[in-house]
Every structure is written in C-alpha cells, then in structure tokens.
C-alpha cells in the first residue's frame, strides 16, 4: 500500500450557502484493461476501485468505482452542516493497491 504521489489530487472545498461543495480531480489513467497500445498489446488494467471522503476524520462518503469511470476522474459532493475550519480529506485506492490522499481545511466565506 504505497502512497502514489505521481498521480496528484486536486481538492477544493468551498462553502456555498449552507452547503459545503467538495470537488476533486484525481489524476489517474483509469485503464480498463481492454485498450491497446500502438504496438497492439493490451494495456494492463489500472483503475480506481474506491474513493473516500472524510470530514474531521470521519468517513461520510464511500464510493466503489468500476473501470467505467472516466480517466482523470472528477467527483463532486455536497455536505450540509460543515463549517469553516473543518478538515476535508479525500483519497482513492486503485486495483493495484496504490493510493493517494489529499486534505484541506474549509475556509470561511469571504
């Protein structure tokens, strides 16, 4: 279970009214194992299988994903009741056991 920093995560959590909108952009090839390279060889499957969102250390959303999720996947969620200063943590894990996490603190609305 290595932390794979070669696939970075972009994470944004912003308060919009009473909702905290969390958007993440994961860099990940999401290869489904069916595509071929220029030489005609199959590209090995490599896709995210799980995504988690934690708020202040507690898991509030867990998504299991298949290879049908697009390359460099984007996810968006909305949470009610979150406030400035809360910690949002998002992570993924792929079928090879690689994972990456990102964390941000919710800032007050200006």
């Amino acid at each position: 279970m290595s932390q794979n920093s070669s696939y970075p995560i972009r994470l944004r959590a912003s308060l919009e009214g009473d909702a905290l909108v969390v958007k993440t952009l994961f860099s990940h090839p999401m290869e489904n194992g069916l595509a071929k390279d220029e030489a005609g060889r199959l590209i090995a499957a490599r896709y995210i299988t799980q995504v988690q969102l934690q708020l202040n250390g507690q898991t509030v959303i867990q998504v299991e994903t298949g290879s049908g999720v697009a390359k460099d996947p984007l996810f968006g969620w909305r949470l009610k009741g979150a406030k400035a200063g809360d910690t949002v943590r998002v992570g993924w894990r792929d079928n090879r056991g690689d994972e990456n996490w990102a964390e941000t603190v919710v800032r007050p609305t200006p």
């Binding site: 069916l34 595509a35 996810f75």
Partner: protein
C-alpha cells in the same frame, strides 16, 4: 508519508490481533440496534434496510480501507444490468418517471464517450446509497456510492462524476432511500465510443 505511517500505527493500536472476532461482534450488536425501531415487523424490506444499515455502520466505523476486501467484484465484472443486480443481491427497484425523485443530469448527445459528465440528484428522504449503471457498457456498473446516513454532517444526495460510455446507452441510477430501492433512467447518445480506444 508520515501521515500514512501515523494512521497505520493508529490502526495497529485500535485493532489488536483479535480483529476478526472483534469486528464480528460489533456487527452482531449493530443489527438489533438498528432493527430496534420496527422490531415486531419481520418484513423483508425492513430486514434489508437494517442489514444494509448495519453493514454501512460497520464500514464507516472502521478506518481507511477496511472495506477493501469487500468490493463486490462480481458486480463490477458483471456484463449486463441484470447480472449486476443479481451480483449485488438487489431487489427489483420501484421505477420512477424521469425527474420524479431522482434526476440524472447528462448531455443528450455526448461527442466523446470517454468523458461524459453526469450528475445525479435525489429528492427522496434518507438516501443511503446511489448506484449508476451504463446499460450497454461492457461492464455496466460504474459506481456504488454509500452515504453515511446518521453522520453529524448531512450528505446531500447529490453526486457528480465523469464516466465512459462505450456506445449510446441508457444511464440508470438506482437509489436506496430509507431502505427502499428506486430507479430511473436517462438516454445518452454517444458519437464516439469511449471504452475501446484504438
């Protein structure tokens, strides 16, 4: 790196070697506690709701990727919507007209099937789970999202993501709300398929 090491240590502390038994016990406690509200009712629906709730509670209580081993590989490897349902053990959901309770936002025509933006928003109470299926994809099940129902923070039943569509297909959202299953579909036309490039 240090964060990962720290959490690994924390996991080690909170989970002594008797891990399996401990977790099993917790699960056994959780079921009656959740079923308590309607204990006299032995209807299947409540049972399913209670066991799903207990499962979710157990999952959410455990740190990190405790659920890793339990991703339903059969469901994600299933090659038809019917076998996805079978692999997940889902009862037949109530079909809702488009926009009634579940709304799937997606383009009518997607030029590039490799990257189709989809939004699912649900206006049903107590949404616990949202699944998305592309009916004509080789592997139809796209995502299976579980929302913590009783977290101090309320998760709004809304999900945004980008998916691949191999060809023009119906997108089907399945929602578990208050223990019941609902579903609706939306047709998306795809100009260039996104599953088998080359």
């Amino acid at each position: 790196m240090s964060r990962l090491a720290m959490s690994a240590r924390r996991t080690g502390v909170s989970r002594p070697p008797a891990e399996a038994g401990e977790r099993g016990d917790r699960g056994a406690v959780a079921v009656p506690a959740l079923a308590g509200a309607g204990q006299e009712s032995r209807s299947r629906r409540r049972f399913i709701a209670a066991s799903a709730g207990a499962l979710l509670a157990a999952l959410l209580a455990s740190p990190r990727w405790a659920r890793a081993a339990s991703r339903n590989e059969n469901a994600f490897n299933a090659r038809s919507p019917e076998s996805v349902f079978g692999a997940l053990g889902l009862a037949a959901p109530t079909e809702l007209a488009e926009g009634q309770g579940i709304r799937i936002h997606a383009p009518d025509v997607a030029e590039n099937g490799a990257n189709v933006p989809v939004e699912v928003s649900v206006s049903l109470p107590r949404v616990e789970r949202v699944l998305l299926i592309a009916e004509k994809n080789l592997f139809p099940l796209l995502v299976d999202a579980a929302f913590a129902p009783d977290a101090p923070i309320q998760v709004q039943p809304w999900l945004e993501l980008k998916v691949k569509l191999g060809e023009s297909s119906r997108l089907r959202a399945i929602v578990q709300a208050d223990g019941r299953l609902y579903t609706t579909t939306r047709e998306v036309k795809v100009i260039v398929g996104g599953c088998l490039p080359g």
